[in-house]
Symmetry: C2
Subunit: 369 residues, 2 copies
Amino acid sequence: MRITCKKSEILNSVNISLKAVPAKTTMPILECIIIEVTDNTIKFITNDMELGIETLVNGTVTAPGSVAINAKIFSDIIRKLPDSDVTIDTDANYMTTISCEKSVFTIAGKSSEEFPALPLIEKKEPMVLSQFSLKEIIRQTVFSISDNESNKIMTGELFEINGDEFKVVSLDGHRISVRKIFLKNDFMATKVIVPGKTLNEISKILSGEMEDEVRIFFTDKHILFEFDSTIVLSRLIEGEYYKINQMLSGDYETKISVNRKVFLDCIDRATLLIKESEKKPIILGVTENSMELKVNSTIGSMNEEMDIVKEGKDILIGFNPKFLMDALRVIDDEEVTIYMTNPKAPCFIKNEEESYIYLVLPVNFNAVK
Amino acid sequence: MRITCKKSEILNSVNISLKAVPAKTTMPILECIIIEVTDNTIKFITNDMELGIETLVNGTVTAPGSVAINAKIFSDIIRKLPDSDVTIDTDANYMTTISCEKSVFTIAGKSSEEFPALPLIEKKEPMVLSQFSLKEIIRQTVFSISDNESNKIMTGELFEINGDEFKVVSLDGHRISVRKIFLKNDFMATKVIVPGKTLNEISKILSGEMEDEVRIFFTDKHILFEFDSTIVLSRLIEGEYYKINQMLSGDYETKISVNRKVFLDCIDRATLLIKESEKKPIILGVTENSMELKVNSTIGSMNEEMDIVKEGKDILIGFNPKFLMDALRVIDDEEVTIYMTNPKAPCFIKNEEESYIYLVLPVNFNAVK
């Protein structure tokens, strides 16, 4: 196998490929990038058994073939090479020579034979959206998945498509995040659970550009993302997702409008006084056109007032400040509307169209003077 | 005690003060910043018993007094406050209220009485140089101090002044760094050992501007740096510094000129293949107008050739690549000259005027084919 590519082309593809290289594994072959070269294509393949990535590299093929090279060493070498043409040459024993200008590296590769091939996916009709939309909808929901592996379903996100409506849901037992966008075209009714890890990794690869497309294909067990010169294939999480509709409906007693940035900064300040271990809440005291925020901890106390617009009853309610901040950070609106019922019932941050709904459960607190 | 200052003023002084707050200490009072307020000055004081810092803060005094406040909590709070006027108010029990716009923090302070006062230094004639020069000369030498506390003298740097010549030396047993600059005025002959930690901290505070001055005062046991509104006071390391002059003299057999950046990048690439634990050298093979760099490790091998200008004999010599890189990184010249004698004798990287001299000991290697 012998190829010549621009350093920048290889580096770009290596960076994508690394997202599916496991940090720890009992199968050393998974620590490799497979370079698979046919007469006219150069492909890098990685696979951590949950997530698989194939990406094409522009370059010149002198001899086809394939080799498995330790991904970390390969990426370190490529990164440090001068910005010039790089030739990768593998002999019959998989000894691999990487040369660039006057620099020559020689490292031992392996046969790619024992590398687990990515499952073949039949590509039917794709669901199409912009890389921007997919990246955004992931960012706006993925923070509220659970990282507790004992409840597998909570570690993923629900992707639900009905006609032209694409809805993403995540929840961790304390809160629920829901985002909705509309597709350009209708798509068949679909309901799958995508691993949070997959979504985190893919959002690092996506360009995030409005004009770049991503095509998504579904099978019973897999989801496949196709964009630019890359495909990312992930297993789905099996099982039935939580029925959230009844949790999201219901009336409210208090509705307030606040400036998102002011509210966020204020909570951020208050959390200074809260040690992780203490789990102290931030207490919101809503009265006529004003909201008081209070924190009392072993370190000290904090008190701040902010202007709001209120409809309905006064309320005194406590929250885990992190949960409020996570939601407020991913909302783009300048003003947000918050709906509350009583100090034990969930609160909702949502807009009129319900293109976003963030449900946060309150926490108990000992009434503070 | 009651003062009002701009948030930015307080933050700036807090950041300076933090440099003398110990990470770990058995004396909790040292974790505090002392706010000392007289009728017309506001001063922050910190002291980790090696290093003490006093810095003045611009602001309005309403009531004089003093308080000790946990430095970390205080700095966290200040950092997150809105960019506006901040009022700090302490009551008779040292309860301290920090208010800014609608935000009010209350934390418990302490009496500043048990805080160890900084020793009083009699300020005689100062040695004066620009903050730029001091910051540079520290950066260009401090990397080769030793971090092994069992040899205290090696953890510091020699400051030697003779007339208008200011020389700084550091060494760790494998290498020596020497930098010389000329002062505007003569200064009395001085020879002291300044702790490396002090120099590292002070170079973080120095503006690095050519037009900003720093005034340095010496006593038997202390060095005092005075600049902007800040004084930094440090203990000196007691003892006699190594006599390095005879180590720096001597003849050479090979003299080469190389492009610094090309040489540095090449060594940087080669180190990829070297694991910390292996201690593999980089081998330089100097022949007529060309130098070959080689590394052979368990990961693989690397080979690169670069153009040089040579005078004298060919040589094959091995180095710890980190030592070469440390020196090459802090030299500003585009071309550097390297003097070698034989594979067991020290090599020198220095310029004609000897405003810098970097001595690096070679390492043994098994001749590589």
